[in-house]
């Protein structure tokens, strides 16, 4: 009797301190068989929380019970149905197995015996049920409707390809991937991060294709994260990437389930976070940042050409302003005479040196772009009109910047928009400023030094052990097929060797052989001459 009183006091002390503790520390707090005690703990935990609903009810035999859920996260009609079926149940309420098996019409049901395991699902939208005399709680997975419907992703639109994009709900997102990869080898491992946010995270990969070492590494890095909240994938990206201070993104992200599914098939790992439509993909290389999903849906010739266009415009976006500065201040001899004369004529009235002119224009262009992104769409139009008028025309007519400079800025802008991955385009937007400075100090020599530094850094980078520039450096002949070109699908038999180690083959070789031997006419040849056909039939 004494002992129980002491225990009681301990429990009460514990209850007083409940709000100071993190959820995972509550593992030590068991669910009591006394409904009264449980209620006290819940009242303490959820005091001043208006969105928590505690619904008291009784079984048919008068046994008291409570249901607890977060208002807005549950599906009200579903809960009503469940409560109804419990209330009309005429058996004994304390047998939890009977309740689970025969009474409650809920697809997802579980029972837990400590508060940590209880709170996490309830706060994510499950409904908890405590019954007098039962030392565990039932969890019913009857969650509310989706936040928004699956729509076309705005950041990665395509002409040919699926129109589905991820949304803010993790479950929907995993479902979108599962719908594309209907195989038990697709694993979706759960994880919970963030002391306060308790964000659900899923690690998706295909067993047998993924490199187990990389998987282990990703898991270990994720598990080591200790942070109060994960509100977006960007938190995780910067916490787990290899070189935080590099300007280059070492993690790819996507909003499209088809892109993620394709990445999984290359042996890469997707990190999905609840509450954001962005999915991280690791490991990644520089070249994957230059590829768009549509490359694989359209004909291979145009995909190859567009890839080269992207590489070219990448160089343009990085080098055009710097080259302009270098050529106009150091290497005038490089220009064709007539071009030099027209540049000279345009620059005649400009009061600033070329560097200052370039910096003014590039900075105002960046400002315009930033303003256009942040502002509401209706105001954004006004920004673009202002930008076109002020930067494009007025500045030139006023003789503050030269017309060639406007061309240079536009070329740079257009070129940087052709890079399909936004985070990768940002990198080159940033890097062109140091290059402009280097060009103004040392001319083309300075640009060369800058390029060498950038290339050296890139060659040094790794993303989860994969060299950032592979398969170009270290060079791998067989993987060039998806970097320098986009080979037609029949020739892309092997998966990229720098990612996966498991199942190397993407497809069989039978079809290709048949096409090669029979010129594409496998077994069916239609005779156009009807007389001949009749003759053959006879």
């Amino acid at each position: 009797m004494k002992r129980t009183r002491k225990q009681k006091r301990e429990v009460e002390e514990q209850v007083q301190q409940l709000n100071d503790k993190d959820i995972y520390e509550l593992t030590s707090l068991p669910i009591s068989s006394s409904l009264e005690e449980n209620k006290k703990i819940l009242d303490q935990l959820f005091k001043d929380s208006s969105d928590i609903v505690i619904r008291e009810f009784t079984f048919h035999d008068g046994k008291p019970a409570i249901a607890i859920f977060v208002d807005g996260l549950i599906h009200t009609q579903g809960i009503n149905d469940v409560l109804k079926s419990i209330m009309v149940f005429k058996g004994e309420g304390t047998n939890i197995e009977v309740l689970k098996r025969a009474v409650i019409p809920s697809a997802q049901i579980a029972h837990v015996d400590n508060y940590a395991d209880f709170l996490q699902p309830v706060l994510s939208g499950d409904t908890g049920i405590f019954i007098e005399g039962v030392g565990s709680a039932l969890l019913l997975g009857i969650r509310g409707p989706q936040l928004r419907s699956v729509g076309e992703p705005e950041s990665e639109s395509v002409i040919r390809g699926p129109r589905e994009g991820f949304i803010e709900s993790l479950r929907t997102n995993t479902a979108l991937i599962r719908r594309r990869l209907k195989t038990p080898r697709l694993k979706i491992k759960p994880l919970m991060l963030g002391k306060e946010s308790n964000t659900n995270i899923a690690l998706a990969y295909i067993e047998g294709i993924v490199d187990p070492e990389t998987l282990k590494e990703v898991q270990q890095r994720l598990q080591k994260i200790e942070i109060d909240a994960i509100l977006e994938t960007g938190y995780i990206e910067e916490l787990i990437e290899d070189s935080t201070f590099s300007p280059f993104p070492q993690v790819q992200y996507s909003e499209r389930p088809d892109t993620v599914a394709a990445a999984l098939l290359e042996g890469r790992i997707a990190i999905m976070v609840d509450g954001t439509p962005i999915v991280l993909i690791v490991p990644t290389t520089f070249w994957t940042m230059m590829q768009a999903n549509e490359d694989y849906y359209e004909r291979f010739q145009i995909a190859t050409l567009i890839r080269w266009l992207r590489y070219f415009s990448l160089a343009l976006s990085l080098l055009t302003p710097a080259m302009y500065v270098a050529v106009t201040t150091y290497h005038q001899a490089m220009l064709p005479t007539t071009l030099l004369l027209s540049v000279a004529a345009a620059r005649e009235t400009i009061p600033f040196p070329a560097v200052v002119e370039t910096l003014i224009m590039e900075v105002s262009f960046e400002a315009l772009r930033e303003a256009g992104v942040r502002l509401p769409k209706t105001v954004g139009q006004a920004v673009s009109i202002l930008g076109a008028l002020v930067v494009g025309q007025a500045a030139v007519q006023a003789g503050i910047v030269s017309a060639p400079m406007v061309i240079v800025v536009s070329i740079t802008g257009i070129a940087s928009f052709t890079i399909p991955r936004y985070n990768s385009a940002i990198t080159f937007r940033m890097l062109r400023f140091p290059l402009i400075i280097a060009a103004s100090l040392f001319g083309i020599y300075g640009i060369m030094l800058g390029i060498i530094l950038i290339l050296g850094h890139m060659a040094n980078l790794r993303s989860f052990g994969v060299p950032y520039l592979s398969p170009i450096s270290p060079f791998s002949t067989k993987d060039i097929k998806d970097v320098a070109f986009r080979m037609p699908w029949p020739l892309m038999i092997k998966r990229p060797s720098f990612f996966s180690i498991g199942d190397e083959d993407r497809m069989g070789r039978e079809l290709q052989r048949a096409v090669l031997e029979e010129g594409g006419q496998t077994g069916k040849y239609i005779e156009h001459d009807t007389n001949q056909r009749e003759k053959d039939n006879e």
Partner: protein
């Protein structure tokens, strides 16, 4: 401690960059782009150095509207004398608000006076001064070089540009590098296109520049001018045959205008005992462009007749070139090199020392095949009816 060290290294890095950079910075606004230069020799032995600089401010900057040639010249010509060319250039710089920038000069004009005195001295600055380009064309002026700069051709804004275009299209384009190369061969003499100013006969008078032929050099000194016919002959010996037109006189029947499309010349030296002669083999393709006679080229024998006349014409042209060379004892087409390649021993023993004096005694044999490949769209003048009806 470590942080201070890092800061220090960063700081010195920035200082290094800022202090070591920019020393040769030159904004476009501060340069005077030299389009063409002319070098003359004054009576007192000084060099006169002239430059042609576009006035970019008058080219019409932003807001469009070209400068045009409405009275205001869009270029500036100035000259200065000096003991050396560089000295003259530096003196010229003293009254220029902008730095003269030579990397874009299209032509280097050499005055006739200087050309006759010898062009070797000017090749030093052309090669030593890094801004000068060896790919610029060189032109010899009839008379004073500066006068060519002063001309105002209508098609181009600057006479320098016009000269470059004309030399490139209608003459054997010979740039500084090639002339220097010819000069290094002790037994080969250069030719340089010669240009002069002509006044047009239109209502609006303008001074145009025109090619008049090729200056004939012995070593680095100009000795004569190839007459028009001999100039055409030089064309035949060039590896870059420039298509040209000629009129064939067919006597009473009338005249036919012929264009030579291709020309291919093979020179073979033949040493027989003591006598050296050259066999000159020519293959050419020509087309008929105008026919004022009533000859019908439907008939093959008529075409053959034209071809025979063409052979004669080519032979005359080439002969006149060779005679001009013999007359002044110059070797402008590299005959000596041929002898050296075919008969190196005899060349060393006999000809190497005084090759030019041997030129007079050399004979030539010809083997000429001209072929009419294109007679145009009609056989005869279309207004003439068919003869046999």
């Amino acid at each position: 401690m470590r942080r201070r060290k890092v800061c220090f290294i960063l700081f010195s890095f920035i200082v290094l960059l800022v202090c070591s950079g920019c020393w040769d910075r030159r904004e476009i606004n501060d340069t005077a782009i030299v389009i063409a230069i002319a070098i003359d020799k004054e009576k007192d032995g000084l060099y006169r150095f002239s430059v042609q600089v576009p006035l970019v401010g008058q080219l019409g900057g932003p807001g469009g509207g070209g400068g045009g040639t409405g009275g205001v010249k869009s270029y500036y010509i100035d000259s200065e004398v000096g003991q050396t060319i560089r000295e003259a250039g530096v003196r010229l710089q003293r009254r220029m608000a902008r730095e003269l920038f030579y990397a874009h000069q299209r032509v280097v004009i050499v005055g006739e006076e200087l050309a006759r005195e010898g062009i070797s001295p000017i090749f030093d600055i052309l090669a030593r001064f890094p801004e000068n380009r060896l790919t610029a064309y060189m032109v010899v002026a009839k008379g004073e070089g500066r006068a060519l700069l002063e001309a105002q051709p209508k098609f181009e804004r600057y006479s320098g540009e016009a000269m470059r275009e004309i030399v490139k299209t209608f003459a054997l384009p010979i740039n500084i590098k090639e002339i220097a190369y010819m000069l290094t061969e002790p037994n080969t003499d250069p030719i340089i296109p010669m240009m002069r100013v002509v006044e047009t006969k239109s209502s609006e008078k303008s001074k145009e520049v025109q090619v008049t032929g090729y200056a004939q050099f012995r070593r680095d000194k100009m000795v004569a001018l190839f007459p028009p016919k001999a100039s055409n002959g030089l064309n035949w010996f060039s590896t870059r045959f420039i298509p040209y037109n000629t009129v064939l006189d067919l006597g009473k029947q009338g005249k036919v205008n012929i264009a030579f499309e291709t020309g291919n010349v093979n020179i073979t030296p033949i040493l027989q005992g003591d006598r050296l002669r050259f066999r000159i083999k020519v293959n050419s393709q020509a087309s008929i462009q105008e026919n004022t006679s009533n000859i019908n080229f439907d008939i093959e024998s008529n075409v053959k007749e034209v071809e025979r006349k063409l052979n004669q014409h080519i032979k005359n042209t080439i002969e006149s070139t060779l005679n001009q060379m013999k007359k002044h004892s110059t070797d402008n087409i590299g005959l000596g090199l041929k002898v050296f390649r075919y008969y190196p021993d005899q060349w060393k023993e006999k000809y190497k020392e005084d090759w030019r004096s041997h030129l007079k005694n050399i004979g030539f044999t010809y083997d000429i095949h001209a072929q009419v490949i294109n007679i145009g769209q009609t056989y005869t003048n279309i207004t003439r009816g068919r003869r046999d009806e």
